[in-house]
C-alpha cells in the first residue's frame, strides 16, 4: 500500500493512456509530460504499462508499507526523506519513511513512480484518470493506493537519467493541414515566439502571439492527436495535450514530437515557446 498523507491539488494516477476507446470519444489521457513520466517508470525498473502518479500542486507526501524504489521527475522536482534527494534518480525507500515530493515554482506536473507500479483497478482498460468524464478521480489526503509486485531491490537505486532541458524550443512535424496556411503565415509561425496563456491545462496549451490564421474554408471535424497544434480562425494556436478532445474542427498547422510534448505542457503562463521543424531522418 501507498499511504497518501498529502495529495497536492489535483494529483491523479496515470499510465500510458487509454487507447482502445478513441472511437467512443474517450481521449487517451496519460501523462501531460510523457518524457518525464516514462523516465520515472524506467528509473524504478517498471515496464511501459506501469501506472504512476502525476502530481499537480504541492505538497505531495506519502509513506509505503514495504520497501520500494521511488523516482520523482518533472521540470524541476526532487524529493526529501530526512534530507534532500535529487529528482530524475532512483531512491530506495524503506517501510514507514515519510517521502515529500518537492518542486521549484516552474514545475506544473511532477511524476512519482514506485517499483511495481500503482495497481488501482483499470477503467475501460487503463488506470489513467480522465477527470472531465468522471473516469478515476483526484487523489485525496489520507487515502491508500494498492501497489503491484516489486521485484527490484536496493541494488537498482541511485540510477539517474538526464532531465530534458525545458527550454521552450519545440520540435514539430509539418501537417497534416499545413497547406491550409499561406507561406507568409507559416514563416511567421516558425519565426515568432508565442506566450503561454493562463487558461492552459491538461487538455491543451493555449498560445498568444502574432496571428497565424489558416486560409478561409471549412474543415470538417477530424480525429486529432496529442501534440497537434490547432489554429482557430482568430489565429491563436492551441497545442493539444493528453486530455484533448478526440476530434477537432480547426486546421492543424504542425504536430509536436512526443519528446517535446512535456516542454509544452510544463510551460507556465507568460513563458514563451518557439517552434522548429524536426527533420525525421535525425530521429
Amino acid at each position: 500500500m501507498m499511504h497518501v498523507v498529502e495529495a497536492g491539488l489535483r494529483s491523479t494516477v496515470q499510465d500510458r493512456g487509454r487507447w482502445e476507446h478513441l472511437r467512443l470519444g474517450v481521449p487517451p489521457s496519460g501523462p501531460a509530460d510523457p518524457a518525464a513520466f516514462q523516465a520515472a517508470n524506467a528509473l524504478v525498473d517498471n515496464g511501459d504499462d506501469a501506472a504512476a502518479i502525476e502530481v499537480i500542486g504541492m505538497p505531495f507526501v506519502f509513506r509505503l508499507d514495504d520497501a520500494r524504489l521511488v523516482a520523482v521527475t518533472g521540470r524541476d522536482a526532487w524529493l526529501s526523506i530526512r534530507s534532500r534527494l535529487p529528482g530524475w534518480t532512483s531512491v530506495f525507500v524503506r517501510p514507514g519513511e515519510t517521502v515529500t515530493v518537492r518542486r521549484g515554482e516552474r514545475t506544473r506536473y511532477a511524476y512519482v513512480a514506485l517499483s511495481g507500479g500503482i495497481a488501482t483497478p483499470p477503467i475501460l482498460g487503463s488506470r489513467a484518470a480522465y477527470l472531465p468524464a468522471g473516469i478515476g478521480r483526484a487523489l485525496t489526503s489520507g487515502e491508500e493506493l494498492p501497489l503491484g509486485l516489486s521485484t527490484s531491490g536496493a541494488h537498482y537505486a541511485a540510477r539517474t537519467l538526464e532531465a530534458p532541458s525545458y527550454d521552450g524550443r519545440i520540435r514539430v512535424i509539418d501537417g497534416p493541414h499545413t497547406e491550409r496556411f499561406e507561406p507568409d503565415v507559416l514563416a511567421r509561425f516558425y519565426g515568432s515566439a508565442f506566450q503561454v496563456d493562463e487558461t492552459s491545462d491538461r487538455q491543451g496549451t493555449r498560445l498568444v502571439g502574432p496571428p497565424v490564421a489558416p486560409r478561409g474554408g471549412e474543415l470538417l471535424s477530424c480525429g486529432v492527436v496529442a501534440g497537434a497544434i490547432q489554429v482557430p480562425r482568430g489565429g491563436a494556436p492551441i497545442v493539444l495535450l493528453a486530455d484533448h478532445q478526440t476530434t477537432g474542427g480547426y486546421p492543424v498547422i504542425a504536430t509536436v514530437i512526443e519528446a517535446d510534448l512535456g516542454k509544452v505542457a510544463q510551460a507556465n503562463p507568460g513563458e514563451t515557446l518557439r517552434f522548429y521543424r524536426f527533420e525525421r531522418a535525425t530521429a
Binding site: 467512443l24 474517450v26 509539418d174 501537417g175 497534416p176 470538417l220 480525429g223 492527436v225
Partner: protein
C-alpha cells in the same frame, strides 16, 4: 473529378487519411470501414470522422514508410459493409423544452410544434463519436430547420441535453461547455464509464427521438 485518398503524417505515431472535402453517408461509411480494417489487422487504434481517419501505429516497431504502405493497402481493400437495413435502432425519449427552441423555430420560420414534429419525425444516422466522450454526431436534420452554431457558446450545458447545429443533432453525454442550440432533454444515460459498453450510441446506429 474525384481525387484519391491523401495520406499525411500526423506527428510521429499516426497518419491522417483524407478521403475528400465534402461528406455524405457513403464517405462516412468508408472512413469507418478503413478504421475497422486497420484495427482488425492489429496495426493500432483508428479514429474515423466525416471524411477522414486517423490511424495510430507503434513507431517503436514500424517506420512511417511502412505505416503509409499499410495504410494504402487497407484503403484499397476496405469496403464499407453493405447497408442491409439491420443497423441498431436507439430510441431517445425526449422532453422538448430547450432554451433555444422558441428562437430556433422563429429563425426557421415555423412554429415550435412544427420544429418538434420535424426533429422527432425521422431516424438519424450516427456518423461518428467525438467532441465529448460518447457524443454522437447524428444527421441529418430536416433542412427546413435553420440552426447555425451559437456565436457565443454556453459555458455550461447539462448532461442529457438534446441539441442541434449545422444540419446535425446530438445529446450531450456530460455537462460541458457547448455551442449547439438546445431544444430538449433526455433521461437516457449516454456515457457510463463503469459499463462494459460505456456508450449508448455507437457509430452506424440509427437513432430516433421520441417525444415525451
Amino acid at each position: 473529378m474525384a481525387v484519391g485518398p491523401r495520406i499525411a503524417a500526423f506527428g510521429e505515431q499516426a497518419l491522417m487519411v483524407e478521403l475528400g472535402d465534402v461528406f455524405d453517408e457513403t464517405m462516412v461509411a468508408r472512413a469507418r470501414a478503413i478504421a475497422d480494417a486497420w484495427e482488425r489487422l492489429g496495426h493500432g487504434p483508428a479514429l474515423p470522422a466525416y471524411t477522414s481517419v486517423v490511424l495510430h501505429f507503434d513507431a517503436r516497431r514500424k517506420s512511417l514508410e511502412t505505416a503509409e504502405h499499410d495504410a494504402s493497402d487497407v484503403i484499397a481493400r476496405a469496403a464499407p459493409a453493405v447497408s442491409t437495413g439491420t443497423a441498431r435502432l436507439i430510441e431517445i425519449p425526449t422532453v422538448y423544452d430547450g432554451e433555444d427552441l422558441t428562437d430556433t423555430a422563429a429563425r426557421s420560420g415555423m412554429s415550435v410544434e412544427e420544429l418538434i414534429r420535424l426533429h422527432a419525425g425521422r431516424d438519424y444516422t450516427a456518423y461518428f463519436l467525438g467532441f465529448l466522450s460518447a457524443f454522437a454526431y447524428l444527421g441529418r436534420i430536416d433542412p427546413r430547420i435553420v440552426a447555425p452554431r451559437l456565436e457565443r457558446p454556453r459555458t455550461r450545458v447539462p448532461a442529457g441535453t438534446v441539441a442541434i447545429a449545422d444540419g446535425q443533432t446530438g445529446v450531450y453525454p456530460l455537462t460541458s461547455p457547448g455551442g449547439w442550440r438546445l431544444i430538449g432533454r433526455t433521461d437516457v444515460v449516454i456515457f457510463d464509464p463503469s459499463a462494459a459498453d460505456p456508450a449508448r450510441i455507437h457509430a452506424g446506429d440509427r437513432v430516433r427521438f421520441v417525444r415525451r
